[in-house]
């Protein structure tokens, strides 16, 4: 489901084994066997991670003869970038108002001292 795609992306990246797999795929596509090599864990265990990454749309598999090749999909990572802009706009707008409030908060203190000559505590 679209709603959960982004969270799925983040969750997929939360596991160190999966990160190493993605790291490996940066250098080009690989079979599940090749992906399993550096870990010393079963091919089944790696297959599970591969399935997870596939569900999160971070990689795709394609069959060539008897071998299945995994490769990186970068579009889902691009999508994850989009939410950043909306949040940034929120803060920029709010900070403009914070600026105004701070200016106002600074003033009364000065006025009290100047106008009434009250000694500061």
């Amino acid at each position: 489901m679209v709603v959960h795609e982004l969270n799925l992306t983040f969750l997929a990246l939360s596991d160190p084994t999966r990160r190493v797999i993605l790291e490996r795929l940066r250098r080009g596509s690989a079979t599940v066997n090749e992906l399993a090599e550096p870990f010393g864990i079963s091919q089944q265990a790696v297959s599970k991670h591969v399935a997870y990454l596939e569900r999160a749309s971070l990689i795709e598999k394609r069959r060539e003869g008897r071998e299945q090749f995994c490769s990186l999909r970068v579009n889902s990572l691009r999508q994850a970038h989009q939410w950043i802009d909306s949040y940034r706009q929120f803060w920029d707008g709010a900070f403009d108002r914070l600026d105004l409030l701070l200016e106002e908060l600074k003033k009364p203190k000065r006025r009290v001292r100047r106008n009434h000559g009250r000694k500061s505590r």
Binding site: L6, S14, R19, L101, L102, L105
Partner: protein, 168 residues
């Protein structure tokens, strides 16, 4: 004032730096006193209302930002850390008027929005003025739940290099 957006777009972390011409204590008050938050904690043209707010570590808030174009936007959050004049951290999630967390799409937002983010505010004394650094991170909030490591940020950095070269 001087606004600088140093966005680490590669890591899904928003990082905004801004210098305010006011002492740190005052900026801190503006973030932690509800009567001040009411004055600024919403974009221009919007108003904010707190159904509930309890500014202390573990304390919760339930707020509604009214936007004339989009209507009500309810949020809930929990303060994670509050260190006077130095640091504030809180979670932020889209909610309904009853204070239940909801999916972004249910709240009428872009469905790609993460359900919950972690906002961290750091204040630095510049001798009369204050440098505020804000980081908002979807990954970190998830990382806390899943017990994962921030090393995935490095991972994303590298993946982003791939994204930029545009193969795929």
């Amino acid at each position: 004032m001087d606004a600088r957006v140093a966005e680490r777009s590669d890591t899904r972390t928003i990082r905004i730096e801004r210098i305010f011409d006011a002492p740190r204590e005052l900026v801190f008050d503006a973030w932690t006193k509800p009567e001040y938050l009411l004055r600024w904690f919403a974009p221009q043209g919007c108003t904010i209302h707190f159904e509930h707010i309890d500014v202390r570590p573990g304390g919760r808030f339930h707020s509604c930002i009214y936007n004339p174009s989009f209507g009500d936007c309810w949020c809930v959050g929990v303060y994670q850390e509050i260190v006077r004049a130095e640091r504030i951290a809180f979670s932020l999630a889209i909610a309904d008027s009853a204070g239940n967390e909801i999916d972004a799409a249910q709240g009428g937002h872009d469905p790609q929005w993460p359900r919950e983010t972690l906002v961290r505010v750091m204040l630095e004394d510049l001798g009369g003025s204050t440098r505020l650094t804000l980081e908002q991170n979807a990954l970190e909030s998830l990382a806390r739940k899943t017990g994962a490591y921030p090393s995935w940020l490095q991972m994303l950095d590298r993946l982003d290099a791939v994204t930029r070269t545009g193969n795929g």
